[in-house]
Symmetry: C2
Subunit: 367 residues, 2 copies
């Protein structure tokens, strides 16, 4: 599984692991892939600073990356209080009412959170600043091209820039802006995603950006066969997110028996693409929470970043409550094959072994 990206980043396998957990990211990097730490959850600069220092110290000198959320169109700025005032009362009432119906109690006094500020442009910029004072080899932007000055800042520090794209025209625009690597994010992916499936999207983007721009296949990739398929489609590597939510290392971030129950029993049909998580279409586990938003009479989700402010506290309450039927979790259609909790190293070893078996099997079919 050795492609040009392995040389470029000094990694053994072109497996890029997007994860909010520094423990998962470190374990993937140590296992020969590239762990990419999602920064959106860090509201406080000091917390990200501490976490990156921990990563520096726990990756055995292996490379890692970071992922920020920087919309091309800069959303309304302000403190969380200012933005909070823009959330309609009817929406707040719907959330309160839904949680009451679903039996989710309030958090203990003082444990709520203000919403995820990482969706704000200013905070995402501070994530880039802090990251560049550490040793990431890659900054990925989950919402497309970062602003050109951010790309230049990364390049000046010798750091490559990746951007997600759900359509060939977006990929070409990212490349024109100076982005180095395109993550072709197919319909079946967890989190923000478009409508074009990986089988079609990956080769389309590969052909559109040409041979000098490496493409990572994303969406629908949880097994070695799927890595082989993605590389067959022309990707030089894969970007995987959901599979790490089923690892032992992820428990360090969120020890959640309800989530483990939910994902081990879910089939590939148990996800839904909806705007209820952030305001933009994202694929989540289908639960009573997502179903409540799909019912007749439910309000339309708010635009980013207001929707996340609206539901952040609800997410904390649902996670704390521990009912596997009432969860808010981005995950892709591969959730159907996530059936047990395993160490990251075992997951990576299985991916590599199944890839090798698959390519050997295909080779026997040649004319």
């Amino acid at each position: 599984m050795h492609t040009g990206l392995c040389e470029q980043f000094g990694i053994e396998y072109p497996i890029f692991a997007f994860t909010p957990s520094e423990h998962v990211a470190a374990a993937v990097s140590r296992a020969g892939g590239l762990g990419v730490l999602g920064c959106v959850r860090f509201n406080e600069a000091e917390e990200l600073e501490r976490t990156l220092t921990w990563l520096d110290d726990n990756t055995d000198g292996k490379p890692y990356g970071v992922d920020v959320v920087m919309p091309m169109k800069i959303p309304t700025e302000g403190t969380s209080v200012d933005l909070g005032a823009m959330v309609p009362e009817a929406h707040k009432a719907f959330v309160d009412d839904t949680l009451r119906k679903l039996g989710v109690p309030p958090l203990p006094e003082g444990e709520g959170r203000a919403g995820v500020l990482g969706w704000l442009h200013s905070i995402a910029r501070s994530h880039v600043e802090i990251s560049l004072s550490h040793r990431p080899v890659l900054i990925a932007n989950a919402l497309g091209s970062p602003p050109v000055d951010v790309i230049e800042q990364a390049h000046a520090a010798g750091v490559k820039v990746a951007a997600l794209a759900g359509a060939a025209k977006h990929a070409m625009s990212h490349v024109a802006n100076g982005v180095d690597i395109i993550v072709a994010q197919g319909y079946e992916a967890g989190g923000h995603t478009g409508e074009i499936a990986s089988m079609v999207l990956t080769p389309e983007i590969v052909d559109a950006v040409g041979p000098d721009v490496p493409v990572l296949g994303a969406g629908g990739i949880g097994r070695g066969r799927q890595i082989a398929a993605s590389l067959a489609l022309g990707a030089q590597g894969v970007w995987m997110g959901s599979v790490w939510l089923g690892t032992e290392e992820y428990r360090n971030l969120s020890s959640n028996a309800a989530w483990e129950t939910a994902f081990t029993r879910a089939t590939s049909a148990d996800t839904v693409r909806t705007r209820v998580y952030t305001g933009k279409p994202a694929r989540l586990l289908k639960t009573k929470w997502t179903e409540a938003w799909a019912e007749e009479g439910a309000p339309q989700p708010l635009p980013m970043p207001l929707q996340n402010l609206l539901v952040a506290d609800a997410h904390s309450r649902m996670n704390a409550h521990g009912d596997p039927d009432v969860i808010s979790m981005p995950v892709g259609q591969i959730v159907g094959t996530m059936n047990e909790v395993r160490p990251v190293a075992d997951v990576v070893a299985d991916l590599v072994a199944e890839f090798e078996e698959t390519v050997a099997r295909l080779d026997k079919l040649r004319g």
Copy 2:
């Protein structure tokens, strides 16, 4: 590209070509794949009889298959007149009004058609009867398992039975009913399709039915790289439909400059999954016709088989009118790479060549 299915059917490549055109089917079979004639368009037994005789005479003795549309749940039977009475007047008015707004004139006197009766169970059964008096090697059912007695009838004649599935549980039920081959039809496919993308669906179905049941990957397959990806995912062959709508041989069925303009300019984002074609979710080219049905105030599509009765005449009128913006055509997301009209033999040759290149490229990545 040689799998067990090639031995089983006496074909050179495991490329199964679903097509309503006997000219395309014959050309695919002559080129080393398996042409599969879609029978749903044949309202008259004599016409199907003549067409299969033509196929017998024009395939150089190579094998071919047929595809019928036999719902598991038998829809209300009756003549087209009886069924026509079940179509609400408001729906008829919406169709008339939409065609008027889109500038589509009526057909010349006497050229309308009664709707596609192939959706009816009795007609689909007659398609099976007529087919078995010819020499098909495969009967596929586009809507899942055929009734068990039809499967037994096919087996008694030495004919294999294939059924489409959009979920692993449906595939397992088909196998329990005696179906021999599963077509794993992913979200990105044209025509009737579910919500799970091929990258996830194919390996899931392969694992569910086990090694003794061959699986054909369907949805998102228009190029050799995609065939390699599908075989990497565990399919023993591919089921392709959309790509043949862009061939010279297809012109024999429907010489339609408007359609050729429409598909050559369409991107992968220009399809939509909707119930407006048959009453069940099917992916079509996105046009002013599909958009009219998505507008606020448009009626909900009727259940199968009523919806097709409602819109069959409109389809004929739109095709005769020749406006590339006003077309009703099932096609998958690969329409984005259908950019020219070519002979079937060239398409097959390119599929095989790109498959071979892809597998050779993958083989170099092995550890």
